[in-house]
Amino acid sequence: MTVTLSRRNFLARTGVLGAMAVAAQGGLRLPAAHAQGADDLLGPIFSGLNPALQQLGIDAIAGLGCFLVPGPDDYSVQQGLTDERPGAFAAENHNFLINILDFDFVPLSDTGARAMTQALVTATTDIGLPQEIIDALGPELLGGADSFDDLIIQLAESDQTIPTGLVIAMYLNFAASQVNPASLIPSPFTAPFANLTWEEKGAALQAIEEQHAGTIDMLDSNLPQPVEVTASGLIKFAIGALLEYVGFGTYTEYAMFDPDNPMVLKGRPVGWEISGFKPGDLTSGDGWDEFIGYYGDVQDVEGSWQRGEGVLSND
C-alpha cells in the first residue's frame, strides 16, 4: 500500500498522529514503514497505542462536555469559559458517553465504522496541512506514521471493530483541525478538539452539523450507494445524539450509582447538585406534597358530543 500525504493528513487531522506523539514520548516504538506481516501487527500496535488513543477519546469528549456544561476543570480553563460550580467533567460525563458509544449507541461497527473511516481518509485528501504543524508533531514520527497509516487503513477495511468512541473523537478532531490547525499540536490535551477555545468549539460543531460546511457532503460524495445517505444521516444522528447525551449524562446519577446497591446512591450526583434536584437526597423517593386540588373543582367530566355540542364553535 502506498502511503500518501492525504493519509498522513488523516492521521494528523483526526488527532491520531498527536496521540502517537504522546505515545512515542512514553517510549512506544512503531515498526518500520511497510513492515512485513502488517496484519499480525495490528493487535500489538493498537495495544501499545491504546492508552494514548483512549486519552484521545476522553479528551475530545471531555472537551465537548465542558463546552455545554463548563466547570472549574482544566478542560474548561483551556476553552476560556469556566464556572465555579462543577460541570460535565466532574460528573464524569466523558466516561458515561464513551461507555455508551462503545456499546453501540451509534452503529459504527462493521459497515458503518469502515465506511466512515474510509470517508474521513478521503475527505482529508484535498485539505493541505500546514508544514509547521507537521514539523511540530515531530518529523521522526512520520516513518512510523506511514506504517501506522497503513495499519489503520487496513483496520478500517478489516472485520475488526474500531471503537465508536474513537471514531466520534476523530470526527470532532477533524472538525477542530479545520477551525484551528494549531489545535493539532497535542498540548495541553491530546485531542485537538479539547485544545480549542469555546467559540472555536462552536465553529467546529457548526462545521460538522451544517451541511453547507461541506464535511458531511464530502462524506456522501465519497461513498457509494446505498450507504451514501446512510453515512451522512448517521453523522447527523451521531452529532445530535452526542450533544443531547452530554446534557443527559451530566445531569444523571451516573458517577454515583452503585450496581451492588442500586437503590441508594453513593453520594450526591453533580447533576442533582447543580440543578437543585431533590436537595439532600440519595434515593429516588416516593412522592411529593404537591397535590393542590382540581382546577375549578372539576373532577368529573363527560363528553359533550352527546349533548349536541360536537360541532366546533370557534368564532
Partner: protein, 651 residues
C-alpha cells in the same frame, strides 16, 4: 393452534388480548421484550439506570441489559423513544388520554372541517367511535387530573391568554383543561407528604406525585399491580388479560410469552387471496425458533416494527403504503424560566393541556434533571448565539431558537423546579415521504432492521405552519404565566407519539387496512396498535384512540372469525381496578358482590373506598348508558364520603 396470536403486549396488543380473552378465546401474546414482574424491587427510577436509551431498564432491547439494544437506523437527527416489554411504551407514558379531534373523522361537518388532514380521515364517524372511547375510559379508568404546582402555573398562562376552560372529554374549540389521565388520582396520604413510610398502600392510593412517570410507575408501594397509579398496560390490561377467567364468566386467561420476538408472519395463498396461518418467533434468551398457528394474527409491535415484520415476512404490498404516512406530531419544545417554584420535577408528568382544533395542542411536561437537560439539547437549529443550522428562528420566545449551551445552559438548569416545559404537539399530515423501510445495515438476530426516515424540514405546509403557530402560542402562554425568559429549542423528530404507518383508510389506494382493522392484502391479519390509526388524530396524545380502535378491531375479529356478537354498546365493562380483578391479581377468592365487591375498592381487607375519582368517572359513563339515571345509591359505584375532595353531585 390457538385462536388468536397477538404480537406485542404494549398499548394496543394488550387491549386486543384482554378483550378477546374476556370473550373466551384462546389468545397467545408474544412480546419481544421482558416482563417486569417485580418493578417495585427492581426499578430504581434513577434516570441513567432507567431511561438511557441503550442500557436503561426501559429501552428498546432485550431484558438482558448486557446485550446491546435493538438498533433501528434513523438517517437524520432524530430519536425513536420506544420501550420493549410488557406494557410497551406505556411504561414511559404520562397516562394522557385525550380523545382525538373530531375533525379527523369521516363525516365531520364543523365550520373548521377544512382545517385538518382531509385527505386521510378515519373511515367512520366520530360519533360512532365514542362508545369505544367510553369502554376504554371506563376500563383503565381515565380521570380528570389533579393539579400540582406546575399545572397551576400552566393554567395561569392559559387564563392570561384568555382561553376558555373546557370541562368536557371532547374538544369543540380552542380551550384549556386538566388532562384526562389514565392515572388513579391521589387518595389518602398521596400527594400530601414526602415521607415514604406514609406513602404505602392502602394509606396512600393513586398517584403519590413522585415525578417519575417516565421511569415506570411503582406507586403506591405495596399496592396490588392493578392498583398502581399509572394505567400503563402492564398495570391494567395485562393483569386483566392474564386473569380473565376469574373476573369474567366465560373468560379465558391469555398465554403471555415475553422475550419472544416474532420474526415472520406465516401465510399461504388460497386462490386469489393471501391468508395468514401463524407466526415464527425466536426466544430472545436461547435463540430457539418456534412456530405457532392461528386463523387470526394481530400485529401490535408498534409503528416501526409492524412494517419491518411485514417486509421481512414477504407479505404483499401492492399499493406501496406499508410503512408510509408516518405521523409523529412533529414535536417542539418551549421552556419558560421563572423566578418562582414551578414544581417541574414533581407530580404527574403532565396534567394540563390546551387544545387548538386544526392546529394541535400544548401540554405542560415536568421532568427530572437529566431528561430536562436532554430536552434543551435536542435541536435541529444549532446552538443559540453561535449558529442556526439553517433554522434559527425568532418569535415570541427570546432570541433565536436552538440548543442552550455553556453558562446560559447551566444557569437555566440551575433550578429544575423553576422551569415550565411546554410540549408543542402538532396536528401533522400523513405524508408518504415519512416512512419505515428496511436498512442496509447488517441484519440483527431478528432479520433486516428498520430504517425510519423523516423529512423534517420538508414537511407539508400545513404541518409546518401549525408547528410555528403552536410554538409561538406556547411561548405566549409561558410569558402569560409569568416566565422571565422563554426559549424555543426546535426539536428534530422525537419519534414518541407514533401513528399511521399501517394506516386504516377509506381508499384502497393509500391505506393498508380496511375499516375493520384487517389488512387489505392478507386475510386474518389485523393491526392492533397506533400504526393502524389513519392519521395523527389532530394532535391529541394517541394512546386512548389506539386503544379504542383496538377494542373496535377486537369486536370485528370476534364477529368475523369467531361468529360472535359485538359487546361494546350492549355490555357493561369491568374496570381494571375492580375488586374482582384485584382479587384475581392477588390470587384471592373472588369477592362477594353482595358485600360490596366490584365497586373499585381494594380487595385487601382494608375496606377503604380510596379510589373515589375512578368511581366518579365510572359513574359518569354508567349514568349516560342508563339514559341519564344513576344506577344505584347514591350513584351505585362509589362511596364518595371517603373520597377526598369528591366533586360528585350527591353531596
Amino acid at each position: 393452534m390457538t385462536d388468536v396470536i397477538v404480537i406485542g403486549a404494549g398499548a394496543g396488543g394488550a387491549v386486543v388480548a384482554k378483550e378477546l380473552a374476556e370473550r373466551g378465546l384462546d389468545v397467545l401474546v408474544l412480546e419481544g421484550g421482558p416482563h417486569h414482574t417485580d418493578p417495585e424491587n427492581t426499578w430504581t427510577r434513577f434516570e441513567n439506570d432507567c431511561t438511557e436509551l441503550t442500557r436503561g431498564y426501559l429501552r428498546y432491547g432485550p431484558g438482558d441489559r448486557s446485550k446491546p439494544w435493538w438498533l433501528r437506523e434513523t438517517p437524520q437527527n432524530s430519536l425513536i423513544w420506544q420501550v420493549s416489554g410488557v406494557g410497551g411504551t406505556t411504561l414511559h407514558y404520562y397516562g394522557n388520554n385525550p380523545r382525538a379531534m373530531a375533525g379527523t373523522f369521516m363525516g365531520y361537518d364543523g365550520a373548521d372541517k377544512d382545517a385538518y388532514d382531509t385527505a386521510h380521515p378515519f373511515p367512520f364517524t366520530y360519533e360512532s367511535f365514542i362508545p369505544y372511547y367510553e369502554w376504554v375510559e371506563y376500563t383503565l379508568p381515565v380521570q380528570t387530573a389533579a393539579m400540582g404546582t406546575k399545572e397551576a402555573v400552566f393554567f395561569r398562562g392559559c387564563e392570561g391568554l384568555g382561553l376558555p376552560h373546557n370541562a368536557s372529554k371532547d374538544v369543540t374549540k380552542d380551550s384549556f383543561r386538566a388532562q384526562e389521565n389514565a392515572i388513579l388520582q391521589p387518595g389518602g396520604t398521596a400527594g400530601t407528604t414526602t415521607d415514604s413510610a406514609e406513602l404505602v398502600f392502602p394509606k396512600a392510593t393513586g398517584c403519590t406525585f413522585c415525578g417519575y412517570c417516565f421511569q415506570g410507575c411503582i406507586e403506591p408501594r405495596n399496592a396490588p399491580r392493578n392498583l398502581k397509579a399509572k394505567r400503563s398496560t402492564d398495570n391494567s390490561y395485562i393483569p386483566m388479560a392474564m386473569t380473565a377467567s376469574q373476573w369474567r364468566p366465560g373468560g379465558k386467561d391469555i398465554t403471555l410469552v415475553p422475550d419472544a420476538f416474532v420474526v415472520k408472519i406465516l401465510h399461504e395463498v388460497l386462490g386469489s387471496e393471501t391468508v395468514v396461518t401463524g407466526v415464527r418467533w425466536r426466544d430472545v434468551n436461547t435463540g430457539d425458533v418456534h412456530e405457532e398457528t392461528a386463523p387470526v394474527v394481530v400485529m401490535a409491535g408498534g409503528c416501526v416494527e409492524d412494517p419491518r415484520l411485514w417486509f421481512n415476512s414477504d407479505l404483499p404490498n401492492p399499493n406501496g403504503w406499508v410503512g408510509k404516512g408516518f405521523t409523529d406530531h412533529f414535536f417542539d419544545w418551549v421552556i419558560g424560566v421563572f423566578d418562582e417554584d414551578t414544581g417541574s420535577s414533581k407530580g404527574v408528568g403532565s396534567s394540563a393541556r390546551a387544545d387548538f382544533p386544526g392546529r394541535g395542542g400544548l401540554e405542560n411536561v415536568g421532568l427530572p434533571p437529566a431528561i430536562q437537560a436532554f430536552s434543551t439539547q435536542f435541536s435541529d437549529a444549532g446552538i443559540r448565539g453561535l449558529y442556526g443550522n439553517g433554522l434559527a428562528r425568532t418569535g415570541e420566545w427570546d432570541g433565536d431558537s436552538g440548543r442552550l449551551s455553556g453558562q446560559e445552559f447551566k444557569r437555566i438548569m440551575s433550578n429544575v423546579d423553576n422551569l415550565l416545559n411546554i410540549l408543542i404537539i402538532t396536528d401533522d399530515d400523513v405524508e408518504e415521504q415519512n416512512h419505515v423501510g428496511l436498512s442496509t445495515f447488517p441484519a440483527d438476530e431478528h432479520g433486516p432492521i428498520p430504517k425510519v426516515t423523516f423529512k423534517a424540514r420538508n414537511r407539508s405546509a400545513r404541518t409546518l405552519a401549525n408547528r410555528e403557530w403552536l410554538a409561538n402560542k406556547g411561548a405566549e402562554l409561558a410569558r402569560a404565566a409569568g416566565a422571565k425568559e422563554v426559549y424555543r429549542i426546535d426539536w428534530p423528530p422525537l419519534i414518541l407519539h407514533v401513528q399511521s404507518t399501517m394506516r386504516m383508510g377509506h381508499s384502497a389506494d393509500d391505506s393498508v387496512l380496511d375499516e375493520t382493522g384487517e389488512a387489505r392484502f392478507v386475510k386474518g391479519l389485523f393491526i392492533g396498535d397506533n400504526a393502524a390509526l389513519p392519521n395523527g388524530i389532530g394532535g391529541p396524545n394517541p394512546t386512548i384512540t389506539s386503544q379504542a380502535l383496538a377494542t373496535r378491531t377486537a369486536e370485528f375479529i370476534f364477529q368475523k372469525y369467531f361468529d360472535g356478537d359485538p359487546w361494546v354498546t350492549t355490555d357493561t365493562p369491568i374496570q381494571s381496578i375492580d375488586d374482582r380483578v384485584t382479587a384475581a391479581v392477588l390470587g384471592q377468592d373472588q369477592p362477594d358482590p353482595d358485600e360490596g365487591g366490584g365497586r373499585g375498592l381494594p380487595a385487601t381487607g382494608a375496606g377503604l373506598p380510596v379510589l373515589g375519582g375512578a368511581a366518579i368517572a365510572a359513574a359518569a359513563m354508567l349514568r349516560r348508558r342508563n339514559g341519564g339515571e344513576a344506577p344505584g345509591s347514591p350513584d351505585g359505584v362509589h362511596d364518595c364520603t371517603a373520597a377526598r375532595d369528591c366533586a360528585c353531585k350527591h353531596h
